[in-house]
Amino acid sequence: MSELSLTGVTKAFGGVQVIQGVDLSIEKGEFVVFVGPSGCGKSTLLRMIAGLETTSSGTIHIAGEDVTKAEPYDRHIAMVFQSYALYPHMTVAENMGFALRLQGVAAPERRALVTEAARILQIEPLLDRKPAHLSGGQRQRVAIGRAITRHPKVFLFDEPLSNLDAELRVQTRLEIARLHQALGATMIYVTHDQTEAMTLAHRIVVLRAGRIEQVGRPTDLYDDPDNLFVAGFIGSPKMNFLPVQASGPREITVAGQTLTLALSVPLPTGPLTLGLRPEHLSGEGPQVTLVAEVVEQLGQTSYAHGKIDGTPVIAEVRGHRPQVGEAIPLTLNPSRALVFGADGQRLR
């Protein structure tokens, strides 16, 4: 049985439908990340699971129990907010033990549970401080600690790293991954940062305009996207898209070169899109030349920006450091090429 299941879940604010029929099952112990651009409904969906937003239609089950209409406190979930949402007038220990206090847990037992959570998060020295005297990273740990002490069935994270600086974000991301391994808990994590999604998730749910575009393991979404949106959203720098036409049942022509693709179905007539990731412009296949207009040097690797047939293209270059104006030979590797139809769906 799934730990969490959403069936035909919709949400409308006034006349605007922001969640449009979401079906999803999450297994016990799974780490699932909701990603998508701003306004795609990922935070709304998380808040619906938490019970902070009502569900217009459909059902939500947690551990087999229908919680669609249940109050947040009856859902056995804990949530970590982007803003930390700590209680400023309480100490760290009081913040972490507040839920237990409301449950009527005796003070000594409460202190023991809070101390145990603080030990896991290495925030024991902070227990008697108020949130105002903590750094952003420490506050986020306390917010996570508050969730841990409750031993919830599902942990929800709503963009928890967005308020942290870049270095702390990487560090806290690793700690969340370690925490998940240590607790083995079911976690749902919302982010717009696809690096966070790729590094943390067992499965990624890509959302757009209130619909699920694709669900899968991070590498599956990266290697085998279902549509143009997912192909463009997952991966950084993003995938190159070149407008092409079919020149045969399994052939396309791009920049004067013909590529023969291993497809199970013949290509339709009309406009198509060829997708090639910046790091896949090498190997065997027809060659084209990219004149570097801008070069981003990252040390180990470089990204050269230029145009092929008037379309902007980014190419990853390893082995040497290209200069602006340099003609860089690229390979249109058919084994790496993805083709999308006029409707944006992948042709396989």
Binding site: L52, P72, Y73, M79, F81
Partner: protein, 286 residues
């Protein structure tokens, strides 16, 4: 003096002159007057602290102070009542906007109009007694009995002014982070827990501010209502220091003695203002 300082003084000067003429000078003049036996328009002779000694034994003044203490003792009602209503409106009870406007409406009425309305409602043959009669309660002379007059006055003033406190609380509630409320709901907080553990601590600076402002308000702005409803009576049961000052000055023509009462009231106000500043400084450190 540098040009910057000269410019600063030029901008400050009008305010300083106005404060000196209309605040500081009358205060000093009032303090001097309180040490004289001035009557009517005659300046009067210096009598030291005689007026203050007389105050200590003046039954009317002592009654006004005991009335003031009773009034201040009702402060929790003046704070909790609008706070509770503000929380309910903020939580989104149906018709919240209507209630907000309705509760605030009396705050824009002058105390004379409020007094006239309640003079009609609270008299022996008024609407309040008529309503009580329907449920079998005997009529009461709300304003004519020394047992009920002060409480009636307090109730009318509360009705007339709590809308302002409610509005201040609503403004304060809008600053309580929604995330914090939601986190508490996820932690298992029901409405009563939310109010007690989250909202009231978050509103503490606002509650303290309302308490201080309300105390000052009820000590200095009930004159109109007392004048219209009870004229300080029956006896001295609704006489407050503010009303006594007017009686001594306007009716008994004793500006020296009235000035002494004013200085006592000023000292009381200064104490409250000091408390207010302390509270604000403490909250600024949080």
């Amino acid at each position: 003096m540098s040009p910057e300082r000269r410019t600063a003084w030029a901008f400050l000067a009008p305010s300083l002159v106005l404060i000196a003429i209309f605040r500081i000078a009358p205060l000093i003049w009032g303090a001097q007057l309180s040490l004289t036996d001035a009557r009517g328009i005659t300046p009067g002779a210096f009598i030291g602290l005689e007026n203050y000694r007389e105050l200590a034994f003046d039954p009317a003044f002592r009654d006004s102070i005991s009335n003031t203490i009773l009034l201040i003792a009702t402060l929790p009602v003046w704070v909790c009542f609008p706070l509770l209503l503000a929380i309910l409106i903020h939580q989104g009870v149906p018709g919240g906007r209507f209630y907000r406007a309705t509760y605030f409406f009396p705050a824009i009425l002058s105390s004379v109009i409020v007094g006239s309305i309640f003079n009609t409602l609270l008299r022996r043959d008024g609407a309040v007694n008529a309503a009580l009669k329907l449920v079998g309660i005997a009529p009461t002379d709300w304003l004519g009995s020394s047992h009920t007059a002060l409480l009636s006055l307090i109730a009318v003033q509360l009705w007339a002014t709590f809308g302002m406190s409610l509005l201040i609380f609503l403004a304060g509630l809008s600053t309580v982070p929604q995330d914090m409320i939601e986190a508490a709901r996820l932690d298992g907080a029901r409405l009563r827990h939310l109010v007690w553990f989250i909202i009231i601590p978050a509103l503490r600076p606002i509650i303290e501010f309302v308490a201080v402002v309300t105390t000052i308000g009820i000590l200095t702005s009930m004159f109109g209502l007392i004048y219209v409803l009870t004229a300080g009576g029956p006896g001295t049961s609704t006489t407050l220091p503010e009303f006594l000052i007017w009686l001594e000055l306007g009716k008994l023509n004793r500006p020296g003695y009235a000035a002494a009462i004013s200085m006592v009231l000023f000292a009381l106000m200064a104490g409250l203002a000091w408390a207010q500043i302390r509270i604000m400084q403490r909250n600024a450190d949080v």
